[in-house]
Structure formats: structure tokens, C-alpha cells
Symmetry: C2
Subunit: 133 residues, 2 copies
Amino acid sequence: MPRKSSSTGESPERITDAEHAVMEALWDHDGNASAQDIYDSVGAAREWSLATVKTLLSRLVQKQAIATSPDGRRFLYSPLIARSDYVGGESRRLVDKLFGGRAASLVAHLAESEALTMDDLTEIEQLLKELKQ
Amino acid sequence: MPRKSSSTGESPERITDAEHAVMEALWDHDGNASAQDIYDSVGAAREWSLATVKTLLSRLVQKQAIATSPDGRRFLYSPLIARSDYVGGESRRLVDKLFGGRAASLVAHLAESEALTMDDLTEIEQLLKELKQ
DNA sequence: GCTTCATGTTTACAAACGTAGTCGCTTCAC
DNA sequence: GTGAAGCGACTACGTTTGTAAACATGAAGC
């Protein structure tokens, strides 16, 4: 039994950890990067072979997370989803899963578990002040 | 090539989504629950068979996330890791992965993306005030 | 004492993932 | 034009995950 839900070819296709690393590299390149570029910026560091990077790129294309545009005999890849959307989605997932959807609970937890330094607290406080107006 | 690192039987074994649902049920039961109990509280709702629940429990035992204590011919299962530790760990993972380890960035993102209501903001502000003393 | 039921253990199997090799085609240098 | 190099597509393979059936065993009822 397949695990996906989807129906009308919609694409909230889950991005895996390895794929995410590739996405980060793509976001860094403002869109237009070749497989080799990605390999240079993320593959090498992670000790992936170029082949691995290519596989990940293909999978991301299938998942409609990135698009290709021909550039001579090769492709340039560019993200189809904005980093902030991705980040927002993942954050929401976590909040839903662990904090019953209450984002404030997450903040509370971070604060209580001292994941936040005094500086962080000040920074956030400042931020809130701005947002509340 | 295996993905695990571990060496001296250490156990930061990753808990999967399905396993997490079981953990939540266990945390709810203040520790002592039978496979049937877990099935009743989470398996049924998710339309898992009792067999599935048993598999997940076994895997959690292997991963040393829960312990068993005999109770007649069956086992009672209890968490070996506190929910708040788990939650903290997962939160940290997310912050590391998406916000370069800066928790404040996560809060900023939640706020800016309007994942936080005005009430949330007030609540957090209140919280911060207490924490900063 | 046997059947039945509950329960943990073992085995199963497809899909997803991480990781990578190979194939086929094109192009560039000689 | 012939060979090397670059590149995407296809194939591969072990592991993890989701989901579950089959099996063994012991208890409990009759």
C-alpha cells in the first residue's frame, strides 16, 4: 500500500535530508547551477560522488522541487520552491507534530530548555516589539 | 555502507514518525502500557493492525527508546527517554538544519510568516519577561 | 487434557533513501 | 574523423520504514 496521499498530481512531495542539502546549494546559487556546480559546493564536502548528486537532482526534478533549463548540452537547475516556504513548511510540521500546532509552545520549550541564550531572548523580545505594532 | 555511527552501544537512534506516534501514546500512559493499550489509543485511530503496533514497539525496544517489564505473560512498555528530551532534540535538529543553529531565527521566521497570532506574540513576550529575570 | 485466546517473536514485502556504477550521446581537441 | 571527456538517463543495491501476516508459546476455560 503506497504511503502517498495526493490525488490531482499536486506536489507537496516530501524532501529528504540528502535532497535538502542539494536544495540549500541551489538556493545559494540564486537559481542557476549545473550538476557539477552542486557537486562542487555540496557533494565534495559530503564526500558524495558526482553520480550521487545527479541522482538527487533527478529525484528533486521528479518531485517538482526544482526545474531544469537547457544550457548547451547540459542542464541548469533552479529551485521551484522558495527557501522560506520550505523552511516555513518544515517548521510547521514540527510544531504540529510536537507542540499540537501551538508555535508559542515551541518558543516556550526552546526558552525553558535554555536553547536560547540571554542574547537570543533580547533579540526576540526586540523582534516581537516590532511585530506587535 | 551503513549510515549509523555509534560505537560503544550509545543510543541516539533516530525515532521515525510512526514510532513517534507510539511514543506519544506511551508518554500519555505515564509509562506502563501494554501493546493492546497502545493499540487502543493510537493504533485504532491510525487504522494500524495490532501486529503493526507490536512491530513498532519491538523496534523502539531495539532502539533503546523504551523498556519492557514483564507483567504475567505479557509486557508493559515504558519510555526510556523523557518527552521533553525528545522534543528538545527534534527542535534542535530543525534549528540546526534550517536556521544555522540560531533558535532566534526560527522564532523570527515563525513570527514573520504569521505562524504566530497576536495572542501568541503576547504570550511569548510574557514568557520572555519571566525568563529574563 | 485439549481448544482457544492473548501475546511476544520471526519473517515478509513494497516503497523510500542513500549512494553509486554504467550506458549512450554529444562535443571538443587533435 | 577518431578518441577523450562531459553529461543526463537508466540501473543497481543495501538499508530503513510502514505495514502486516505467520508462528510459537503459555494461560485459561471447559
